[in-house]
Amino acid sequence: MSLAELICPAGTPAALRTAVDAGADAVYCGFQDATNARNFPGLNFTPDELAASVAYAHDKGAKVLLALNTYPPAGKVDLWRQAADTGARLGVDAFIVADMGVADYIARTHPQVRLHLSVQAAASSPEAIRYYCENFGVKRVVLPRILTIPEIREIRKEIPCEIETFIFGNHGLMVEGRCSLTNYLTGQSTNMDGVCSPASDVEYRRHDDGSMSSQLAGFTIDCFGSDEKAGYPTICKGRYTAPHRTEGYYAFEEPISLNLSRLLPELIAAGVHAFKIEGRQRSKSYVRGVVSAFRQAVDDIRAGREANIADLVALTEGQKQTQGAFETKKWR
């Protein structure tokens, strides 16, 4: 049976308290280092902050999931092992992992803590998911955002663990976050350093005509007209010209966010156990608005009422939203 848990983002302790107070069943967060894929300046938790946050969440009946979802560079596993040891000591309810070595270490060292397989692992077939379950005792898989609901329903029947799917937020599908584009320009890795488009490499330039260009590592990756909505300064959502496309076009993906609020009943019926809201880099205002809206919607559905979810388009990237591949493979 679907638990329909709401898994909510927290970039800071205050955001964690906001998410819990807004109705999160569980909150996911990370340390201030390369062990998590939102290793952004001024974001994330110290061990002391995590300890207080775990206590706060548990007092209110919510769980804390620690994201250790990056890949240790060869021979440099200590940071990930220490993070796992610290998280276990502080009483987190689960680790979200991508790397098999990290999963193996936790399975052997902290078998009492649940393992969730990060979307960063990009496991999208029953065979791949079963491999993680059988070898590391993974209890839940976060599915890549490339599957339709009928496909999710079929996978559900063939795997021995719970399923978590994204329902709102960033729609970056470069093999589910395992993106090498940022590394190509900046020398820093989404997968190993936890940074996509590091802020130190981002520059916005405002022009006299009101337009704004965004640059990453000195390369212009987009230019927005004076009245045009903007997106994140990521290469995958940049707009480029080519000899055959001189007008400028989105070569990989456009600035847009996922919003599956209308598909919630179908996802629950398909057996999805938990719904993930993306956005650890976002503010408390975002967390409060999105978590509250989805809390209400899930509660309405459970009570047999029609869910009437609030309009969240103002919080979406580029102020555009999509149901992506969940609705149809023709999305792209």
């Binding site: 970039g11 800071t12 302790p13 205050a14 955001a15 308290r17 952004f40 300046p41 001024g42 974001l43 590091p198 802020a199 130190s200 981002v202 520059e203 916005y204 330039r205 405002r206 704004m212 927005f224 004076s226 009245d227 045009e228 909505k229 903007a230 997106g231 994140y232 600035p255 880099q281 976002r282 503010s283 408390k284 205002s285 975002y286 608005g289 103002a314 919080l315 979406t316 990237e317 580029g318 102020q319």
Partner: protein, 168 residues
């Protein structure tokens, strides 16, 4: 929200420079008191700012006659009103309407959403801005209301009046 900023050059308004300087003189004592109080009550802000404690931020409420200069150095805090023709060299500039900036400080609005809608302009050192945003976002409660409380009933009345004057 209207995305068109007030871009009328201040110097073109007769007497703008005098008005700006007088306004700065009036608000400066308040700003100094506010920043000291916020720093005392929220010391964790500085850890999240990291190396950008020494960065000069220019915060530009586009419809006010002056901009604000913030240097969040805990050893030598700077928060002052500055006429636009006398701005310091900025490490980072954050520009938007006054009430939007106030709501961003209080996490009533989402900074990314304001950026997507083009209501918020950011130039200069993006990392400094990200750190400042994340530091402020980790503050519980309302900095605007804390500030109003410092000045008792008149402070609360002014904040209420401001909020009425800027319907969101």
């Amino acid at each position: 929200m209207n995305s068109s900023h007030d871009t009328l050059p201040r110097a073109a308004i007769p007497g703008a420079s005098v008005i700006a300087r007088l306004s700065c003189m009036v608000v400066q004592p308040v700003l100094s008191r506010v920043v000291r109080r916020i720093a005392e009550r929220h010391p964790s802000l500085f850890a999240r700012l990291g190396p950008h404690q020494g960065t000069d931020f220019v915060i530009d409420p586009v419809e006010l006659p002056f901009a604000l200069h913030l240097r969040p150095d805990p050893e030598a805090l700077v928060f002052r009103a500055v006429p636009r023709d006398a701005l310091p060299a900025a490490g980072a500039t954050i520009r938007g309407k006054f009430m939007l900036l106030l709501e961003l400080v209080d996490s009533e609005e989402d900074g990314d959403a304001a950026f997507f809608s083009r209501d918020l302009d950011v130039t200069g050192d993006t990392e400094a801005v990200v750190r400042l945003r994340n530091a402020l976002d980790d503050v519980d409660g309302s900095i605007a209301e804390e500030t109003a409380e410092m000045f008792g009933p008149p402070g609360r009345a002014i904040l209420a009046r401001l909020r009425r004057a800027y319907p969101t």
